[in-house]
């Protein structure tokens, strides 16, 4: 079911009606039924993987919870008389068994992800090596399409498993509720990757209908559709043309193409989030926010705290911290401190953890070298920022730059935007070589475009239809920028809330009309959501 289709809108209406008509106690069942039905419209066979991930995680968390309960019962009863050493040995035994269960579930779920997403990539590398020795290529037995949302729901369930193992959350007893947490349709295919403690309570408790939730949620939902259908989908064919034909473009056109992709991917991904967060808001459920005006960030590190927030938080919680505090990394830090001083000793373990995190982030986005380099580049800029901070601080002091001044902040935001926009295109153009070719083109394509048609060669000027849609999308980008600027202090919806209802309805209807007239046609050019492929 395409999310930007009329069928999906009708599906949402049916889900909302059923949700609010159902007794609060059973609302979660409505959500589960809707989620499974939604997923089945893509490929019913892939539901098997969702069920496996859900039930294996449920089984593991329940088994760990039982061990915890048994330990508590034993140490509170029969085991009270044990010596401290015996108690510690008993606890260590339980912990070991819990760890075994956790690792088993973790490997089972990760293996699905690895097979579907990375096996082909790994095999390609093996075949490349084999070809050096003139050996025949190995055949790929797993060349199927990866289940929709696999990376997202696997990470979400791994997070739940680890939280449960660490004792941060109580295990959910009801397997169907665990299945709902895994398959909740607004976030299953493209995130956000929610924490169990944050989402489960909202999913499983009932919510009444309130006008405020309805008004705010529906405004956000429609705004998300506008971003995706009117802006992102209109830019998609132009961006594809840039990626395919950049070699014949001037530097200025190639540069504009890079900016266009930055706008497209933001409108695409944040549009999806707005649609789904808006829908959940109507139901009284608050999803984790995934965006916080990321293109206004002042550094790459800040950008990644404001773009795809839930993925960054996941890596921080489940990869960065565990590596940071691991025995081998702390030993590395101690050794570095002894040899090269305190600052080096403090920075090295963090940098090692960052390299691992950013390599994993890159590979999470796609199994190819382009994404790996893209991830490492992001990590490199963040690590450089950390290491060179004293140097920057000295430079700023010397140049007497006031850090809170508007020109300086604007410069920082522009610098970061350009940097991330350039990094973003690297894995998207085709191969890594193509990505670098596009970069090179920006600086070497010296011919000066004469007129708008030459400056924007990626617009299909032969069709007034697509050209109009492109310029409407440019106006839509300006509207997105204006909304982002307005949102610095408070949500725009709190401003429109004060308007009389007919005026609000007029604005609402106007945006819906824009979507109907321009957006619906763009969906043929734009294809699906960019993040659905990850």
């Amino acid at each position: 079911m395409q999310i930007t289709s009329l069928v999906f809108v009708l599906f949402l209406c049916a889900v909302l009606a059923a949700y609010f008509l159902a007794p609060k106690k059973w609302q979660w069942v409505v959500l589960l039924a809707a989620s499974l039905a939604f997923y089945c419209t893509y490929d019913v066979r892939h539901l098997a993987f969702v069920l496996f991930t859900s039930f294996s995680t449920w089984g593991a968390t329940m088994a760990m919870a039982r061990l915890d309960a048994a330990q508590k019962r034993y140490l509170g009863g029969e085991g009270k008389a044990l010596s401290r050493e015996d108690k510690a040995a008993y606890r260590a035994g339980v912990k070991k068994r819990k760890k075994r269960i956790m690792l088993l579930a973790l490997l089972a779920n990760l293996s699905i992800l690895l097979v579907f997403k990375y096996f082909h990539f790994a095999l390609e590398q093996v075949n490349r090596v084999l070809s050096i020795f003139r050996a025949g290529p190995l055949r790929d037995p797993f060349r199927f399409l990866a289940p929709l949302g696999l990376s997202f729901y696997t990470f979400q369930m791994l997070g739940y498993l680890l939280d449960s193992y660490w004792g941060n959350v109580a295990a959910e007893r009801n397997p169907l509720k665990t299945l709902l947490f895994c398959s909740f349709f607004p976030q299953m295919t493209q995130g956000p990757i929610s924490e169990f403690g944050q989402l489960s309570e909202q999913l499983f408790t009932g919510h009444g209908f309130t006008y405020r939730n309805w008004s705010w949620g529906s405004q956000r939902l429609v705004w998300g559709l506008f971003k995706k259908m009117v802006v992102a989908d209109a830019f998609a064919p132009a961006v594809q043309r840039v990626f395919a034909q950049y070699g014949s473009y001037s530097g200025a056109s190639a540069f504009l193409g890079i900016l266009l992709y930055a706008v497209q991917i933001y409108a695409d991904f944040s549009g999806y989030m707005d649609i789904m967060c808006g829908l959940c808001e109507i139901m009284g459920i608050r999803l984790t926010e995934n965006f916080d005006r990321p293109y206004f960030s002042k550094s790459v590190a800040e950008y990644w705290r404001r773009w795809h927030i839930s993925l960054g938080a996941w890596f921080k919680r489940y990869v960065y911290y565990p590596i940071g505090v691991s025995k081998w990394n702390r030993a590395l830090g101690r050794s570095a401190r002894a040899r090269f001083g305190k600052r080096f000793g403090d920075m090295l373990p963090a940098s090692v953890a960052l390299v691992v995190v950013w390599l994993a982030t890159g590979l999470w986005h796609g199994a190819n070298w382009g994404y790996a380099v893209w991830g490492l580049l992001n990590g490199l800029f963040i690590i450089l920022g950390l290491w060179l901070e004293p140097v920057w601080a000295a430079c700023r002091a010397k140049l007497r730059v006031r850090e809170d001044s508007r020109p300086w902040r604007t410069f920082q935001a522009l610098r970061t935007f350009l940097l991330v926009a350039f990094i973003k295109v690297l894995p998207e153009v085709g191969s890594l070589r193509d990505g670098m070719g596009l970069w090179r083109r920006v600086f070497t394509g010296r011919s000066l475009p004469r007129g708008l048609r030459q400056l924007l060669p990626f617009v299909d000027w032969s069709s007034s239809f697509t050209a109009i849609h492109f310029f409407v999308a440019c106006a839509g980008t300006a509207a997105m920028l204006a909304v982002s600027l307005l949102q610095r202090r408070r949500p725009v919806r709190s401003l429109t809330e004060k308007w009389p209802m007919p005026l609000r309805a007029l604005l609402f209807a106007g945006v819906i009309l824009l979507i109907a007239v321009f957006g619906v046609q763009n969906t043929w050019m734009g294809g699906g959501f960019l993040y659905a492929q990850f």
């Binding site: 009329l6 006008y211 032969s462 609402f508 209807a509 009309l513 109907a516 321009f518 619906v520």
Partner: protein, 338 residues
């Protein structure tokens, strides 16, 4: 309950505004003659006088000039072809015109891709054009109900609103309306072809083309169209309008299409002329001036081609005027040397 009432009121308010905007935009679109396909008033005015009909898709819409047919054949012709028009829509429009006109000849244009078209996809530009051509809102809604899925309704609404907005713009700026004298023909300027001559070479001769994509239901409708024509006393003639030489050269497998069409028309007992195989085509039609894109004639191309069609209609052409196959035709192409 109060919350629910307020929400309902806001929904009704938004729906009322949307309905008003839709009525204003579509009302003007369907009741004025600003766009190519809003020709229902013109066709109603011509009712009872049209004796020659051209029925096809964009290739015929851009390629056959009724004014030339009128002059050459002494008929009153109308070109009711439309961009990506589904076969079912062709049958519907033909039925309407046969019922109100003394039609003697129907030129049915079939291109290499006509019979692959389906209504399975949500993209339905052709349907929107047909809907604009119908006479009443009732007919339009009936067509949509019978032929379109839910998502296609959204697509048609979107297209109609877009064109309606263009009509408003034309009305405001005082742009000229539909050219009634063109009688359905939509001439376009020649444009440089996207495929450059120097790019033509063996590497481009691999684009697959297969009649396996043809849908039996489309062939069945073609059969029905031929039957309808005969029942109304009109002679059906099936033709293929020329595409650019470059397209001909890069699209391999066209002989499959030729064989399919010859078989089909042989079974139906009606003449079939593929003007891509007309021996004079390479001299008559030049890729740079006679085409508006790889597969559609430009206005100069249409004005050069229509007299050839008229001549064939006046007197059944000698088979020797046509190449036997695409393979033979390509041997005479300028690109053959490359």
């Amino acid at each position: 309950m109060r919350s629910f009432r307020r929400a309902l009121l806001s929904i009704l308010c938004v729906l009322a505004i949307l309905a008003a905007a839709t009525a204003a935009v579509l009302g003007l679109y369907y009741t004025t003659e600003y766009q190519t396909y809003t020709d229902s008033f013109l066709r109603r005015d011509l009712a009872g006088s049209v004796d020659f009909l051209v029925l096809g898709s964009s290739h015929a819409e851009n390629g056959v000039v009724p004014a030339i047919l009128d002059e050459e054949l002494g008929v009153n012709s109308y070109n009711i072809s439309g961009w990506v028009m589904p076969m079912a829509a062709k049958r519907l429009l033909l039925e309407k015109e046969l019922a109100r006109n003394p039609i003697r000849t129907v030129v049915i244009e079939i291109a290499y891709d006509t019979l692959s078209r389906s209504n399975d996809e949500d993209f339905c530009e052709g349907d929107e054009a047909v809907i604009a051509r119908l006479d009443t809102m009732g007919e339009r809604l009936a067509y949509m109900r019978e032929n379109l899925s839910l998502n296609q309704w959204a697509d048609v609404y979107s297209r109609a609103m877009f064109r309606g907005a263009q009509v408003w713009l034309k009305k405001i700026t005082g742009a000229p309306g539909l050219d009634r004298a063109a009688k359905g023909y939509f001439g376009k300027e020649a444009a440089p072809l996207s495929l450059r001559p120097e790019e033509i070479g063996p590497a481009f001769q691999s684009e697959p083309f297969s009649v396996d994509t043809y849908r039996p239901e489309n062939a069945a409708i073609l059969e029905e169209i031929v039957r309808l024509c005969r029942e109304a006393g009109a002679e059906p003639v099936v033709v293929t309008v020329p595409v650019s030489e470059r397209f001909l050269w890069v699209t391999r497998g066209q002989d499959e299409f030729l064989g399919y069409m010859r078989d089909l028309c042989g079974r139906l007992g009606c003449p079939y002329w593929d003007f891509d195989l007309w021996r004079g085509r390479f001299d008559l039609l030049d890729d740079d001036t006679s085409f508006r894109d790889l597969t559609h004639l430009s206005d100069p191309g249409a004005r050069a081609f229509t007299p050839v069609l008229a001549a064939c209609l006046r007197e059944a052409p000698d088979p020797s005027l046509f190449f036997d196959s695409y393979a033979e035709a390509l041997e005479h192409s300028a690109y053959c040397e490359r």
